[in-house]
Symmetry: D2
Subunit: 253 residues, 4 copies
Amino acid sequence: MTAKIRVTVWNEFRHEKNKEEVRRIYPEGMHAVIAGALRRDGGFDVRTATLDEPDHGLGGGVLENTDVLIWWGHTAHQAVSDEIAAAVQKHVLEGMGLILLHSAHGSKPARRLLGTNCTVKWRVAGERERLWNLAPNHPIAAGIGDYFELPHEEMYGERFDIPAPDQLIFVSWFEGGEVFRSGCVFERGHGRIFYFRPGHETYPTLHDASVQRVIVNAARWLAPLRRIDSARSMCVREPLEKIGGAGLPAPCN
Amino acid sequence: MTAKIRVTVWNEFRHEKNKEEVRRIYPEGMHAVIAGALRRDGGFDVRTATLDEPDHGLGGGVLENTDVLIWWGHTAHQAVSDEIAAAVQKHVLEGMGLILLHSAHGSKPARRLLGTNCTVKWRVAGERERLWNLAPNHPIAAGIGDYFELPHEEMYGERFDIPAPDQLIFVSWFEGGEVFRSGCVFERGHGRIFYFRPGHETYPTLHDASVQRVIVNAARWLAPLRRIDSARSMCVREPLEKIGGAGLPAPCN
Amino acid sequence: MTAKIRVTVWNEFRHEKNKEEVRRIYPEGMHAVIAGALRRDGGFDVRTATLDEPDHGLGGGVLENTDVLIWWGHTAHQAVSDEIAAAVQKHVLEGMGLILLHSAHGSKPARRLLGTNCTVKWRVAGERERLWNLAPNHPIAAGIGDYFELPHEEMYGERFDIPAPDQLIFVSWFEGGEVFRSGCVFERGHGRIFYFRPGHETYPTLHDASVQRVIVNAARWLAPLRRIDSARSMCVREPLEKIGGAGLPAPCN
Amino acid sequence: MTAKIRVTVWNEFRHEKNKEEVRRIYPEGMHAVIAGALRRDGGFDVRTATLDEPDHGLGGGVLENTDVLIWWGHTAHQAVSDEIAAAVQKHVLEGMGLILLHSAHGSKPARRLLGTNCTVKWRVAGERERLWNLAPNHPIAAGIGDYFELPHEEMYGERFDIPAPDQLIFVSWFEGGEVFRSGCVFERGHGRIFYFRPGHETYPTLHDASVQRVIVNAARWLAPLRRIDSARSMCVREPLEKIGGAGLPAPCN
């Protein structure tokens, strides 16, 4: 029996409380819909956490006990404390998987880990998005055909200000004329990050079967073998081979 | 006539003042030796800046007027202000080239731009380093043969905690038994970064002709075509193509 | 004074002879239009070569004296001799630049160098193509804005069966609903390859100013520093360091 | 219950018959040792095939029923028929995993799939090799620490004439002064390739526990989700979106 993968679904969870149009689609919050998809799969231990909980719901050992963290944030990126953002970065670098959904491209964890502005072009016009599958044999794309469509989504357009992804899984076509790298894998430290574009709060995107399939696939694939701490450089005083050169090893200070 | 490339050589410049063994090798500071090599080439307008100047010598429009910034830092990474580190990051993302020398792997600009711990194994034992040239047709390696050697250097060993480089130029062999990715190109935002490993302060590495050649090559290759500001996402209210979908574009707010 | 870059423009040159609609657009052949753009730039020594010449116009030292080869082929890929295809591969691996235009994705040189099927989805329906610029500070994209448009082009759609490009410069949006990686840099051996998608023979694409700009930019950027022959493995009988292990070096045979 | 991964271990199997020093180490052939390691793991259905069998042991549906092919070849690369080499390439592009061991860098399947010369520096001097682990959280490196050592191996040195690997897992240090990219993942078509350097026939390398561990790990990780045929471009006559442009779609011919 394989141990279940421990997933924490983090959501800003403010639109659902403040905007009627969002509450109608996600009455219990977007995190609840994502968590439901993971629970139905059966392979995950799922918990949720939200911005307005103490420590944003990520204190008290939650990150230490999370294999994969899913992050949805939008208007309140700055309300996330630097401490928690640094802790998320630290845990990813040790091996924790991270799925960045939609507007999480601008979140503190995304920008700290990727190092760029992570900016986009955008438009909310209810347009059609078609996500083309560039990696049909990648585990993240399992069960996805040549493409899948979302009838109404926010547009994100290039140039997406990210480092070149380590793997490019999806590229989106938008009805209004733009394209976007919509599924991007980044390896950072000992962990893996998957940016997945869909998920605007005013559309029922997270209820879509293909979107849920990709998130479930990614949660499985991002789970690390183990955690490794690489926060400190390490002095290796005793060389592996004899050194014939100038002087003795210096003390490690 | 091509305009000269404007290079700023930044140095922590403390070892040279505090340690006799360093001052003997670099009496005017390591920045002076690097600046000299660039000036002899003739293709650069060179200035220097050091940690203990106001704004670390990088205020007052210096970064705005720098095509390529060279950075050497070691024991005083934390003495660099967050404001200046953020300004360096901003300018690299807009296009400014950045050469990170030796222990600058742990500097604030490096860690902000790369997002990882950037840690290494290390040992100061005067051992031989041989840098193998993996990209002999890359402009950074122009004039370098199959390899070049440094008789005495600090060892840096893998695992080097960096994102996979966009281009790997040099890999080092160390007498004591380690290897290291010693020449790494990273593209971030609209700028390029070159990490170059050699340059420990207690050895005359920066006087070495091959090391100077690589730095000069890199300074030329990293110079950007132009500066581009991508700090903000951009609302594209008017689509390029007619959208037949649900509802009108939302206002850009 | 910098030496001019020597470019050879190779064209299958059959459509222009067999199809009236193509001859109308390219009366002297597509190669003549490309060569004209390069000549107007002034930085190139340009010659042309076509399929039906002896050795396809590439014998007698032409490849040895070519810095960058531009290749357009479509219906007669199989008519290119294996010898010439192997020679093109050999020269690219030694450093010669190669620009593969449009349907050259299926050419023998492309498939030999990339190793994959290089297949695409396609449709000829006079639809609009918009090429988004993902790398505005890359020399290949110099002078190109956020995007450029072609009013009528053949569609190529993903999944494009190529290795992950070393650099992704353009991604196309098509009116009919597809996307495509339209500008791809690959480094192979000591040479660089640029695949550039536009250029269907029944449209005046190669007369387009942006298309010509990209081709001219690429021809400049792909020119190698030098030619390097790596066709044979090399025995290094004398080690650089003393070996204390078992037995003497074996003879190099 | 998960289905077993079907592995075919292919060996040139000539050194073991012609050279006493090789037969002593691998009396039943190197393929037998590799197959034994896979069988002890329990997760694989293992068969073997050798050069001098009809169709090199790879006809009659063997490749169609192989999830991962392991390839060891050295002096007889040219004795492999072009038909079988093309069939291996075809199956990798459809998804079959391929592990290239040691001197298989120069094999026909390697060169067809990678497109480069794949040449190396080399020396047989019984020297020590230390393989540094650059990707300790990658499934291929599961169970491997910071490095592992082989007391006596053939040296392979850079520059290794390969395309930049999609993932770099190991870099070797050699006693005689060279370095080498010893564990390289390449994605080609719908399949994955792992080049793994160790395995010279005159040393007992393939009996080494770490080497066997890496091969077993790789065989598990390279198994594809499915086979996908991308050998032909596909005409998409009916566009997904309405095209307002010039003329009707052309027939698909």
